[in-house]
C-alpha cells in the first residue's frame, strides 16, 4: 500500500497532440480516487501512464517514495483491471490468478493460499478449474478483480471495469468493489465515464476535461459547488440547466439576484431545484410550457419551454405531479439553489 503522487504529468503523442496536459494530483494511502470525464478527456491515458503502459512525456510519477517514471509495469507494484478483463483464454481461472505470482517466483503453497483467499473473497471458488469462456460476464469480471487481488499490490488501477456488464450487474459489482476496497484499504485509481459510478464509488473525484483537471473534491463537494460550467453539466443527471442572467432580469427576478458575484452572466439550476410549489425561503418564479412529460417511477422528468426563451430545460420532481403536456407551469426557484457562472471563462464566479 502506498500513496501515488503525480507532478506535472504530461503526455504528447506524435510530437504535437497533447492527450494529458500537466496533471498534479496526490492520492493518499488507502484512498479511492475516481477519474471521471467524457471520452477523449485523457482519463484512460492518465491511468495507463500510472500503470506504466504509456510512457510519460514530462513530469514525475511517484508510488510511495519511489519515482517510477521509467519502470516496467511489473516493477511498479500495481495491479490493473481492464475494461474487457483481458483474461488469458487458454488458462483456467486458477492459472489466470496464479500467473502473476508464478512470474514473481512465489512457491506453490503461497500461490495456492493466495488464490484460495482471493477466490473466497470474490466467491469464485467453484469456477477455479474452468476456462474464462465458460463464465458469464459477471463471473469474468470477478476473475479480473481476483487477478488484481492475489497480488496484494500497492495500488489497484481500474479502467472502466464495469462498462461491459448489464445495468443490474453493474450496480451489484459497484457495491462489491466499494466494500472490497473499504475492507482491503488498498489505494485505488478508478476510471469511468459514468458519473453515477463516480459519485458512489470515490472518496474523491477528479473531473477531467481535454487533458486537464477541472475539479478535484469529494463527490458531494463537487455536486454542491461545481467549479465550472463543464463540471456542472457533467455531474448530476439530468444535467444542470443553464440560463442567461439577463433572462432572469427580464423576467422580473432582478431584485433577488443583485448580490450575485461580479462577472456572473449565467446561472445554473439543478433540475431538482425547479419547484412546482413555492418554497418558504426567498425565491423567484418563471413561467414555462410543458413540452414532454416523462414518468420514471419514483420520479418524473418534465421537459419545459421557458416563456420567451429557446433554452431547453428539464425539471425533476418526485412522484407524478398532476400536469399534462401543453400546460403552463409556474416554476419556483429558491435563491440559494442558484450556481453563478461566467460564460466567457466557464468558471464559477465568487470562488
Amino acid at each position: 500500500m502506498a500513496s501515488i503522487t503525480l507532478e506535472g504529468l504530461k503526455k504528447t503523442y506524435g510530437g504535437n497532440v497533447d492527450a494529458v496536459k500537466g496533471i498534479d494530483l496526490s492520492i493518499e494511502d488507502g484512498e479511492f480516487v475516481v477519474l471521471v470525464g467524457p471520452s477523449g478527456c485523457g482519463k484512460s491515458t492518465l491511468l495507463r501512464m500510472v500503470a506504466g503502459l504509456e510512457s510519460i512525456t514530462q513530469g514525475t510519477l511517484k508510488i510511495g517514495d519511489r519515482v517510477v517514471n521509467r519502470l516496467e509495469p511489473a516493477e511498479r507494484d500495481i495491479a490493473m483491471v481492464f475494461q474487457n478483463y483481458a483474461l488469458y483464454p487458454h488458462m483456467t481461472v486458477y492459472n489466470n490468478l496464479a500467473y502473476g505470482l508464478k512470474n514473481r517466483k512465489f512457491n506453490r503453497e503461497q500461490i495456492e493460499a493466495r488464490v484460495q483467499t482471493a477466490a473466497r473473497m470474490l466467491e469464485i471458488t467453484d469456477f477455479l478449474q474452468r476456462k474464462p469462456r465458460q463464465l458469464s460476464g459477471g463471473q469474468r469480471q470477478r476473475v479480473a478483480m481476483g487477478r488484481a487481488l492475489v497480488r496484494d499490490p500497492a495500488a489497484f488501477l481500474l479502467d472502466e471495469p464495469l462498462s461491459n456488464l448489464d445495468a443490474k450487474l453493474r450496480v451489484q459489482m459497484r457495491v462489491e468493489i466499494k466494500q472490497l476496497q473499504r475492507r482491503l484499504k488498498t489505494t485505488s485509481l478508478y476510471v469511468t465515464h459514468d458519473q453515477l459510478e463516480a459519485m458512489t464509488l470515490g472518496d474523491r473525484l477528479v473531473v477531467l476535461n481535454g487533458g486537464q483537471i477541472e475539479q478535484v473534491g469529494t463527490p458531494m463537494e463537487i455536486y454542491a459547488r461545481p467549479a465550472s460550467m463543464f463540471v456542472a453539466g457533467f455531474i448530476g443527471s439530468p444535467a444542470m440547466n443553464m440560463l442567461p442572467l439577463d433572462y432572469l432580469h427580464v423576467q422580473g427576478s432582478g431584485a433577488l439576484l443583485h448580490d450575485l458575484p461580479e462577472n456572473t452572466d449565467t446561472v445554473g439550476i439543478r433540475p431538482d431545484d425547479m419547484l412546482l410549489q413555492a418554497p418558504d425561503s426567498p425565491h423567484f418564479t418563471v413561467e414555462a410550457t410543458l413540452v414532454l412529460f416523462e414518468a420514471a417511477g419514483a420520479e418524473s422528468h418534465l421537459y419545459v419551454q421557458l416563456a420567451d426563451s429557446e433554452q431547453p430545460t428539464v425539471i425533476r420532481t418526485s412522484g407524478q405531479p398532476p400536469v399534462s403536456e401543453g400546460d403552463t407551469l409556474t416554476l419556483h426557484i429558491a435563491r440559494e439553489a442558484i450556481h453563478p457562472f461566467n460564460s466567457a471563462s466557464g468558471k464559477r464566479t465568487g470562488g
Binding site: A51, A74, M80, Y88, Y99, K131
Partner: protein, 280 residues
C-alpha cells in the same frame, strides 16, 4: 440451408458422391495395381479387383526396393522423406513464429522494411532461385545431407505473414495484462501467444509437412547418394527404367501417400478441438 426440399437434398448428395468417386478412383486403382503379380500390369488391360500378391509386393518394396532401378528400399526412403519433411516443418514454424512475433510486437528501426522484404520473397518460388541456392549449398558442402535437403526450404514468408495477421488480432490488453503480471517478451510469447496460436500452428503444420513431403525437384538435384533419396524422387527413378515394375511402383506410391494422411488425421483432431474451444 433452411429449406427442406427432398429433391435438392438428393441432388446435393449425388453431386457429392460423384465428386468423391472422381477423386477416390485413381487411389483405388493404385491400391489394386499394387496387389497384382509381376506380369499382370504389362498385358495392357488394367484389373478392376485386388489381386492376391499384395503382401509380397509390399514386403519386397519395403525391405529390398528396386535395386535394378537404383532405388533403395522404400522403408529407408520413407524415413528420409520423413526426416526432411519434419525438419522443414519444424524449422519453418519456429522461424516464422519468431519473426512474426518480432514484427508485430517490437518497434525497431526499419520494421516495415523487413516485413516487406520477407513479403517480397513470397513471390520467388524455389524453382526460380534454384541455381544460386544449389551453388550455396554445394559451396557449404551440404550436398547429400539432411541439412542440405531441408535448410534451404525452411524460410517461409507465407507462414510469417499468416502468423503476423493472427498476432494482430490478439487483443492488445493481453500483452498489457501479461506485462502487469510480470511476464517479459519471451515469457509472453511462450505462455500466452503460442498456446493461443495452437490452431494456426496445427493447420500450418499440415500444410508445411505436405509441402516438405512432396518436394521433388530439390532432392533430385542435390542427392546423388541413394542413402539420401526421398520417396517422391525414388518413385520417379523407378519409373524411368526400361521395364517399369508397375506393381512394385504402385506399392511404393501407396506407402508414400500414407504419412501425409496420418499427419492430417492426427492434426485434424487438434485443430477441430482448437476451433471449438476458441473464445466467442
Amino acid at each position: 440451408m433452411v429449406e427442406n426440399r427432398p429433391w435438392a437434398n438428393v441432388f446435393a448428395h449425388l453431386m457429392l458422391i460423384g465428386g468423391v468417386a472422381l477423386v477416390v478412383f485413381p487411389v483405388y486403382i493404385a491400391i489394386v495395381a499394387s496387389t497384382q503379380a509381376p506380369g499382370d500390369l504389362l498385358r495392357g488391360s488394367l484389373p478392376m479387383w485386388p489381386g492376391s500378391h499384395g503382401w509380397e509386393n509390399y514386403k519386397a518394396m519395403w525391405s529390398t526396393g528396386l535395386s535394378r532401378a537404383g532405388a533403395p528400399p522404400a522403408g529407408q526412403m520413407l524415413w528420409n522423406s520423413f526426416v526432411m519433411a519434419m525438419a522443414i516443418t519444424v524449422g519453418k514454424l519456429s522461424i516464422s513464429l519468431l519473426s512474426a512475433f518480432a514484427i508485430v510486437y517490437f518497434r525497431f528501426r526499419f520494421r516495415m522494411f523487413f516485413f516487406w522484404l520477407i513479403f517480397i520473397t513470397l513471390m520467388l518460388p524455389v524453382e526460380v532461385r534454384i541455381i544460386p541456392t544449389y551453388q550455396v549449398v554445394a559451396d557449404l558442402s551440404m550436398l547429400n545431407s539432411f541439412a542440405g535437403l531441408s535448410i534451404p526450404l525452411i524460410a517461409s514468408a507465407t507462414a510469417t505473414f499468416l502468423f503476423r495477421q493472427f498476432f494482430m488480432t490478439v487483443p492488445e490488453e493481453m500483452l498489457e495484462a501479461a506485462r502487469v503480471d510480470g511476464a517479459g517478451p519471451l515469457k509472453f510469447f511462450k505462455d500466452i501467444l503460442m498456446p493461443l496460436s495452437i490452431t494456426n500452428i496445427a493447420a500450418l503444420f499440415v500444410i508445411m509437412f505436405i509441402y516438405g513431403w512432396n518436394q521433388y525437384l530439390w532432392p533430385l538435384l542435390i542427392t546423388t547418394d541413394p542413402d539420401y533419396y526421398t520417396i517422391v524422387m525414388g518413385i520417379q527413378r523407378m519409373t524411368s527404367e526400361e521395364n517399369p515394375q508397375w506393381h512394385l511402383i504402385m506399392a511404393a506410391v501407396v506407402l508414400a501417400a500414407l504419412p501425409p494422411v496420418l499427419v492430417i488425421l492426427f492434426m485434424q483432431r487438434l485443430f477441430v478441438k482448437g476451433l471449438t474451444e476458441t473464445e466467442k
